[in-house]
Symmetry: C2
């Protein structure tokens, strides 16, 4: 046996990794594929990081991210025991899967939604329950409420559609579902409503947030969890003991304090989103009403046709023009559409220009 490599566990051997959106090398790309915020981070963030980048880096970080937790608790009017800071909200999703699900304790999610959920489930040998999205991507309250699973990931606003769910409908799900309802609010900064105010009435509710989108800090990897103290305690026990480094703690704390900058960036993205939706409508394209920092639109060619081939054709054309968007060809509800991040107004102008120069858009003679 000596020298042989032992195999990993069977469910790990069978695993396919999550595929993040392409991060193109080289200059000149317009990157509308991973829902990054077109606004730069608040200037206070760089200042705080520069301050924290000195000799103190030789020392371990504060293991609980205590100052950041306290600030998040104040920000959301909750107690510190209701807050956990994590290395990107993906860490929170992974911790929840590992703590609450496994063989015999399935995980559920909307189909389609964030493609990381099935990867996390498979990595934990957890059976999966999917609840199909209706064609308009509205929330199937009844179907989620009765889903036979220990934990349900509800992406709200929904991705990849951008559809927002009302607080009342989220409350209805939380009240009826017997498991842990995890509302994945990655895009909540851009939405009209969120689930935070429901936490005190629904102890089985968990809200997951990120600094990646609304706070323009995808490169810093900071997210957080809001939940009952009992749930936070469980996640705290299984996380890495130093999950957030000194720079991430300092940068996130500074970002949270920069409220005016945040409000301005969010307002800009929302205004551009509405303008872009109108521009696409003028071209006869249907776009799901978005509460996120992206739109999901169904392109049409010059003959007025839509479908998977049309979407793929436009995706490839845009890519050839160095404009990156996202196409999800494997699901019938998404194959005919493209998910496009709301960028700067200038980036949106370039996007529309490239769409209008797409050869397939020209009317056939």
């Amino acid at each position: 046996m000596a020298g042989r490599i032992p195999p990993p566990l069977p469910h790990v051997a069978a695993l396919e990794a999550y595929t993040p959106g392409t991060q193109p090398a080289g200059a000149g790309w317009i990157k509308l594929n991973t829902n990054e915020n077109p606004c730069p981070p608040a200037p206070e963030v760089a200042a705080a990081i520069r301050e924290a980048a000195g000799d103190a880096l030789r020392l371990y970080p504060e293991p609980r991210s205590a100052a950041l937790r306290a600030a998040l608790a104040r920000h959301h009017d909750l107690a510190e025991e209701n807050v956990l800071a994590v290395n990107g909200s993906d860490e929170a999703l992974a911790l929840l899967v590992r703590a609450y699900t496994g063989p015999g304790a399935p995980v559920g999610y909307l189909d389609p939604s964030y493609s990381l959920y099935p990867v996390l489930a498979r990595a934990a040998a957890t059976p999966q329950v999917t609840v199909p999205c209706p064609v308009d991507f509205s929330l199937p309250v009844e179907a989620v409420a009765v889903a036979a699973c220990r934990l349900f990931f509800l992406t709200s606003p929904h991705a990849p559609s951008g559809r927002g769910f009302s607080r009342a409908s989220l409350a209805a799900v939380a009240a009826s579902f017997s498991g842990l309802l995890v509302v994945d609010e990655a895009y909540a900064d851009f939405a009209d409503e969120d689930a935070v105010a429901l936490l005190d009435r629904h102890p089985n509710l968990v809200v997951v947030r990120t600094f990646s989108k609304g706070r323009s800090l995808a490169g810093l990897r900071v997210g957080y969890v809001l939940a009952a103290a009992e749930v936070i305690g469980v996640l705290d026990r299984i996380r890495d003991s130093y999950n957030l480094d000194r720079l991430a703690q300092a940068g996130a704390l500074a970002a949270l304090g920069a409220e005016a900058h945040h409000a301005r960036c969010v307002a800009e993205v929302k205004a551009t989103r509405e303008w872009l939706t109108g521009q696409l409508a003028e071209r006869g394209w249907e776009t799901v009403p978005s509460q996120a920092n992206f739109v999901f639109t169904t392109p049409r060619d010059g003959e007025g046709r839509s479908g998977a081939e049309v979407a793929r054709g436009l995706f490839e054309w845009l890519e050839s023009r160095k404009v990156l968007v996202r196409h999800f060809p494997r699901h019938p509800l998404t194959a005919s559409g493209l998910r496009i991040t709301v960028g700067t107004r200038r980036e949106m102008d370039r996007l529309l220009e490239e769409i209008d120069s797409w050869p397939n858009r020209a009317k056939q003679p």
Copy 2:
């Protein structure tokens, strides 16, 4: 059922978290309890972080930490496929446990060694096999080689003793052990020998390293794994897709390039370690020959007595004088000793001064 909080999995409910060493608040402490490096990080690190802390933080990091992997591969004369960068070496240990161990696939480790191993095992519902350390903390080659487990964590240099293991003895274990031999080389920068050169002959060998100790970057959370491409591929599939943020990638890359600074810091720590060991010997205290940046010493009181009570007494005296060291009272091999980080020469002077002013050191009349 509505509104109730579902319980976590039974093995998670039963879990006690790892307890990191105290990070004291307030000034004036001499911190010799968590093996941080007394040298500041290389100046190039802060410069690289400041450079990376700009507007690009709005963008996701490079998901594979590709530049850092390439640099690590060059540094160790390996291929890039043999390297994985992680969010602190603790992440590597956790990934290895989750990928290769579980019910029916036990994990093994030396007893005593790093107290995180049993926590990781319990978090994965993995049975544990412990191999007792001999009283002199030498490597029990035969016992490890026949340990009935899928994966064995071998801390080398050993902690908390500081004992170094020869490359030949590590090779002997790797050749005979049928599972994955994970050599946890957190302290290898301060050792005479390490296991890296054995990788090409022993595909079941995994080496885990960290930037926390040798590179003075405990606050940045960067570690890495060196192993067969097959093992790296498995870990890559189950890690968080963006496990290292932009600042950590940039800072670690800069630290790796600062070879002269690194060599100087390591030489200083080693010189101070030898001097401290001599000073303790002058007081009649036995210290395990250390290949790490800490020493494990057995204090004696004024009557020449040692033991758990003596060690606890000195620990508490030092703490009252704002000098933090580490006492592990629960294990018979460690209860009589203290683990003391090698700090600056000035910190060591203060330590010895406080030791010499310990009331129990005064000869009884």
